[in-house]
């Protein structure tokens, strides 16, 4: 059995959109609803799903940018959700995040060197005279030149900024990095460069990734295990090979069949889902996917399926497999 780095148990995040006069919630958005999974040490766990499925919210809970409504988080066996704010903050340096938009996630008024140095100074990791040396080391690690540390973010291209974001995350020697759509905003040729960089850094620093993305081909390339989310629920978790070779949940099947393949000679049978993703404010009763499902059973509308292990290490939440 692999060593578990992070364990997520029944985690929920509800946003209260509207309250009655007496403070009672009337309208609640269940962004993440009772999600459980684990991330092993040294693996890359991919999280896929369409917009609004709660994958970013989940990532933000792990790095303490949101606090969960219910549920527990364990990091190296320690329950993070039981800690007070100050103790919790001491774990922030172990769990870092790389953001989607390299234009919005760097302070435009700071030089790149200062951006990378800031987390080390805040966490008092190094004596002040050693910080610059480490900034140069980190810039080299992500493939930037050391003289670029005196430049401002606007002088960099999208791919280079994403490298700065990666260097900043690495600065505090994290154990887990949450990559939230880290390559989605980049052009294809730059995307390949950044993906290869992430793979190399994982080897070099022994990192663990939670890799959040909507591009299934990218997730496949980088992940060891993959979880599929739909409307705040985890619907399938399994190894990469199993997920792409033998997807069980109808949503996963549809998602995989919807990816355009780069071979015009090979036309595949496509499952076109009807309709749109329903609003997470009033999700359908029973299985949340039943309004778009092409294999719907009678009980799907009545009862919510639970995530079950149907074959070794293949978990799926669907009534078809009961």
């Amino acid at each position: 059995m692999n060593e578990v780095l992070m364990e997520i148990q029944n985690l929920s995040k509800h946003f209260i959109l509207d309250t009655s006069l007496f403070g009672k919630p009337i309208s609640v958005l269940k962004a993440v609803d009772k999600v459980s999974f684990r991330i092993d040490k040294g693996e890359a766990f991919g999280l896929v799903g369409e917009s609004g499925c709660g994958k970013t919210t989940l990532g933000k809970i792990l790095v303490n940018l949101h606090s969960p409504t219910h549920g527990k988080l364990f990091f190296e066996g320690k329950e993070l959700t039981a800690l007070d704010d100050k103790q919790r903050r001491s774990y922030c340096k172990d769990i870092q995040m790389i953001f989607q938009d390299p234009y919005a996630s760097l302070n435009p008024r700071m030089t790149v060197g200062d951006i990378i140095a800031e987390p080390m100074i805040i966490n008092q990791l190094l004596p002040a005279n050693k910080v610059e040396e480490r900034v140069i080391y980190l810039l080299n690690c992500v493939g930037l030149a050391q003289h670029q540390r005196n430049r401002y973010p606007h002088e960099f291209s999208g791919g280079q900024r994403q490298r700065v974001g990666i260097a900043r995350a690495l600065a505090v020697e994290p154990k887990l990095i949450v990559c939230d759509e880290a390559v989605s905003a980049l052009d294809v040729s730059i995307q390949a460069q950044v993906l290869n960089l992430l793979v190399d850094l994982k080897e070099e620093f022994g990192l663990t990734y939670l890799f959040i993305a909507h591009g299934l081909n990218v997730v496949k390339h980088i992940s060891d295990r993959v979880g599929v989310m739909y409307l705040g629920k985890m619907v399938e978790i399994t190894s990469k090979r199993e997920l792409y070779g033998n997807p069980l949940h109808p949503y996963t099947q549809a998602l995989l069949s919807a990816i355009p393949i780069i071979n015009p000679e090979k036309k595949k049978e496509r499952i076109i889902l009807k309709g749109d993703v329903p609003s997470p404010i009033n999700p359908p009763a029973g299985c949340r996917f039943c309004s778009r499902c092409f294999k719907e059973l009678d009980q799907c509308k009545l009862q919510e399926p639970v995530l079950k292990e149907v074959s070794p290490n293949h978990w799926v939440a669907c009534h078809l497999f009961e």
Partner: protein, 327 residues
């Protein structure tokens, strides 16, 4: 031949110099054909579409060339003449359905506006046709949804409304600029299928502009690859994907993680990045990133040459061609 673009160049005059976003490109689109233009950001693909539509904003201007639509030069037309064609014979779908719909108008009014301007129909007829179009693009209960405002709809629905609006006057040419980029994959599949069905139904030609080679492989008949404002390769979709010729196209295809590839090998990388348009390298614009760069490539610009119906702008194929003719 429906549209013929001849030696089109588009320039942006900036304080620091002039940027040639589109540099001497020529292509044609036949009736009912889907032609895709692919390229990365800054390759000039969107500027090409805006030039055709006459929607260039200052400081952009067409520096030369002709855009012949049914043998009339769109570039020489007055704004008034252009308005007769734009939205009627040529229409466009944009990338961002939220920013390209008017947020304070009901969607039926937005679609009816173009119908009443171009088709000279009464309000009742326009409304009936609007609802019919919304039904065709797959909006459930179209008569009720026609009264919605754009913010009441999801991204996929808005893109359908845009498509309905673009198709309402039965255009001969539809320009779709990144029509699925902002959408999720399952919705992307719906919209691509819709475009395909509309092409079958109305027989219009589509100019599809995208950065996604997957979408191109699914939807297009013929493909143009652009890099730094130049056409670097042009071929029908099958031969482009089966035997890409330009090193840039080859690199692009190899740098995409493939869904049906089980190996864990490293991705191929095109080194470096797109050059600054104000400081283009000498010779071939791709020369500083190319693995197979020859000495000649940094000195002169290769011409677009045709080899068995497959056009490519690269010196590597000069020898192939000369070798073949020597035999």
């Amino acid at each position: 031949m429906l549209l013929e673009v001849k030696n089109l160049s588009t320039e942006f005059k900036l304080k620091r110099g002039t940027v040639r976003a589109v540099d001497d490109i020529s292509f044609t689109i036949d009736k009912g054909e889907i032609l895709a233009i692919v390229g990365e950001s800054g390759s000039g693909k969107s500027v090409t579409s805006l030039s055709i539509m006459g929607l260039l904003q200052k400081p952009g201007r067409i520096a030369g060339g002709e855009i012949l639509f049914n043998s009339q030069d769109l570039n020489k037309m007055s704004q008034k003449e252009l308005q007769q064609i734009r939205g009627n014979k040529i229409s466009m779908i944009f990338q961002e359905p939220m920013t390209s719909l008017n947020p304070v108008w009901r969607i039926k009014d937005q679609i009816m506006e173009s119908l009443m301007t171009h088709m000279k129909v009464s309000k009742q007829e326009a409304l009936a046709r609007t609802i019919e179009m919304l039904n065709t693009v797959g909006i459930p209960s179209p008569a009720e949804r026609a009264n919605d405002y754009p913010h009441q709809m999801s991204g996929g629905m808005r893109q359908r409304v845009m498509t309905a609006m673009a198709l309402s006057c039965g255009p001969d040419l539809l320009i779709a600029d990144e029509p699925t980029t902002a959408l999720d994959v399952t919705i992307q599949a719906q919209i691509l299928e819709l475009l395909y069905r509309m092409r079958e139904k109305f027989g219009m030609a589509v100019l599809l502009i995208t950065h996604d080679l997957g979408v191109v492989s699914e939807a297009a008949d013929r493909v143009i690859v652009m890099y730094c404002g130049k056409i670097v390769e042009e071929a029908d979709v099958k031969s482009l994907f089966a035997s890409p010729m330009h090193p840039y196209t080859v690199g692009l295809l190899q740098s995409i993680p493939q869904i049906d590839d089980d190996s864990d090998k490293r991705l191929y990388m095109i080194k470096g990045m797109v050059p600054n348009p104000l400081r283009m390298p000498h010779g071939c614009p791709f020369s500083d990133r190319c693995d197979r760069c020859l000495e000649r490539c940094t000195q002169e610009m290769p011409e677009l040459q045709e080899i068995d119906g497959h056009k490519v702008r690269c010196f590597l194929y000069d020898e192939v061609k000369e070798g073949a003719s020597a035999k």
